[in-house]
Amino acid sequence: MDLSLLPEILASTIRLSVPLVLACLAGLWSEKSGIVDIGLEGKMLAAAFAAAASASYFQSAWIGLAIAMLVSLCFALVHGYAAINQRGDQVVSGVAINMLAAGLAVVLGNTWFREGGRTPALPDTARFMPINLPGAQILSQVPVLGGLVKIVSGHSILTYATVLLVPLTAWALARTRFGLRLRAVGENPHAVDTAGISVARLRYQAVIIAGILCGIAGAFISTSLSASFVRDMTAGRGFMALAALIFANWRAWPALYACLLFGFLQAAGNYMQGAHIGNFEIPVQFIIMLPYLLTVILLAGFIGKSIPPRASGLPYTKDR
């Protein structure tokens, strides 16, 4: 491998981490309130389609983003209704949402654009394009600093917004009254209920936040990372985010690090086709499967320990 590629790989790491971080934060909000969300993947996919389709129709990335958030929110509310009101199985509901999103996106895309589920390629004006930070042009000439600038500069506005969302989530969950109540409802909903706070209301708020975050993630995938929607374009990112969430032991900052690690593995997998250690060629597939493998090993308690919120996945029934 060539070290001169490093700035490029790291810049690509950041780009690939963005949807992971957003989906992971979505999962964090949801699961902290006690709602397991297998449907991150589906919500992102639906949002990616909505963003690409509406950005193409209105020729505006921002309208695409808004509609993506709205569509993802609708799916989130469906999940919330099943999980909170109907006390249904949250995993089953998530699986259903993934299928609904995957099917609907292609069916509607095929009807509206007649390109077999694809959406038309977006012009640069209807995408979230890279922003060069002030001074980046000049600084990139400086030897060591230049590499750093290449990594940090030239990302889209959504990327920089995502960077802000991590401390915001960490702060909101740890320091605000809302965050405290939300965490309590995921650990011991009975106690929250006894205190006179609505369990259902808090859980709906968490589900809504998760929906909006997945919407941004989806819009990023189809209007910033690429320039159109293609079938199954989220490619398991929702599940990888779920893995990162477990890795981070349901905390915001570690979630960022886990997503950066997984993003790096993805980026390295893209750049390291045919890389060698000595005479041994590292198969790309092993780099790709590493996040999943690490998660299995971590969950099995072989490295550290990962403890989910105590009431996650359990429907809450008020005692009468």
Partner: protein
């Protein structure tokens, strides 16, 4: 339970509720067809005619159903033990490895020896890929849902690597193994030809009988053997099962292995009966159809066979529909699948109490 005193009669539980769910799912799917700008009734007609109107249609229906029976049974056995196996997709994929290794490695043996060994190998590979998550849940406290999801992705990467590096002939561009000639399960066209009967080309092969046998075997296992009783006891209440002298950990691992083995039989149908080689992603989402089939079939073998045929109808009819009306993509079936899973699985508490209330009123 919200159902209260109104215990529903079996025909409601097994028949009416799945039927109502199907009607609602089809209704929503029909709305999507209307949004697309096509006639839902005409579309339904094309689907029914495409699947039931010809021998070819029926044979495709039964071919799809064969896969779905295996997958549905796999999901159902795990359900009975209180486990949600989302990993059937990966288990069947890995099982294809077992079928291919035996099929290619023991080519010199006659078919009536190779095929049974290849079937056992498929089941063994599938069982192993499911047993590991079972073991990790039972002994290490991992959650089976997360582990089986991760195992699907691990299997996907692993198989790309293995097929590309060990099974692909050097001369071939496509990532697939060379042809398996020895362990060749005859399809119905080839059998008909033996009797001088002409039949359209079809993927339907003798494995369909294996799926019928598997359905009977699962019924026998669950309701007629001690192990089956233990599986159901753990699924109903694992804490209570301990007092009956049952070890839930052991049952978790066994149930997962059986589930994986059943999923593995899908590879027999696909690899030895249809493709006659190991292809990338030959499972094609059947593992997820299995979830819908098991939920719709109420985890009972008879229900599973019927709902597998229903989904076979949807798949075959949907394919014909997408030829006749290119606007309606075949992915419409995935939407229906999602709706069925949502209504049967996630909203199961929505339909039952309402029906139970009606029945209580009728009884009074």
């Amino acid at each position: 339970m919200a159902a209260g005193r109104g215990e529903l009669p079996a025909w409601v539980d097994m028949g009416l509720i799945p039927f109502l769910n199907l009607v609602v799912a089809l209704f929503v799917a029909g709305l999507v067809v209307v949004i697309i700008g096509e006639s839902p009734f005409e579309s339904l007609g094309i689907m029914l005619n495409g699947a039931l109107g010809s021998i070819k249609g029926w044979s495709y229906l039964l071919y799809y159903a064969t896969n779905f029976v295996f997958m549905g049974l796999a999901v159902a056995v795990a359900f009975h033990a209180g486990l949600f196996n989302i990993g059937c997709e990966g288990q069947a994929y890995i099982a294809g490895l077992g079928a291919t290794i035996i099929g290619l490695g023991l080519e010199f043996l006659p078919w009536f020896i190779v095929i049974p060994i290849a079937m056992v190998a498929s089941m063994a590979f599938g069982a192993l890929w499911a047993w590991i998550p079972g073991y990790l849940q039972a002994k290490r406290g991992s959650h089976i849902v997360i582990t089986t999801i991760m195992f699907n992705f691990i299997a996907a990467s692993l198989m790309v690597y293995l097929i590309n590096n060990f099974f692909r002939p050097v001369t071939r561009m496509a990532v697939e193994s060379r042809e398996i000639t020895g362990a060749y399960i005859l399809n119905f066209r080839e059998i008909a030809r033996l009797f001088d009967i002409r039949m359209p080309s079809t993927p339907l092969n003798l494995t369909v009988f294996v799926s019928m046998f598997a359905a009977w075997a699962v019924w026998y296992l669950l309701w007629r053997t001690e192990l089956g009783y233990e599986i159901r006891a753990v699924g109903a209440n694992s804490a209570a099962a301990v007092y009956a002298g049952i070890k839930p950990d052991r049952i978790t691992m066994i149930a997962m292995a059986i589930s994986g083995g059943l999923a593995g039989l899908m590879a027999v149908n696909e690899v030895l009966g249809v493709q006659h080689r190991l292809l990338l992603e030959f499972v094609g989402g059947a593992g997820f159809v299995g979830i819908a089939v098991a939920l719709m079939g109420r985890s009972h073998p008879i229900g599973i066979v019927l709902s597998a045929m229903l989904f076979g109808l949807l798949y075959q009819g949907g394919t014909e529909l997408s030829f006749a009306k290119p606007l309606i993509s075949r992915d419409m079936i995935v939407v229906i699948q999602g709706l069925v899973i949502f209504f049967m699985g996630a909203l199961e508490h929505a339909f039952r109490p309402a029906l139970a209330a009606i029945f209580v009123r009728l009884e009074d």
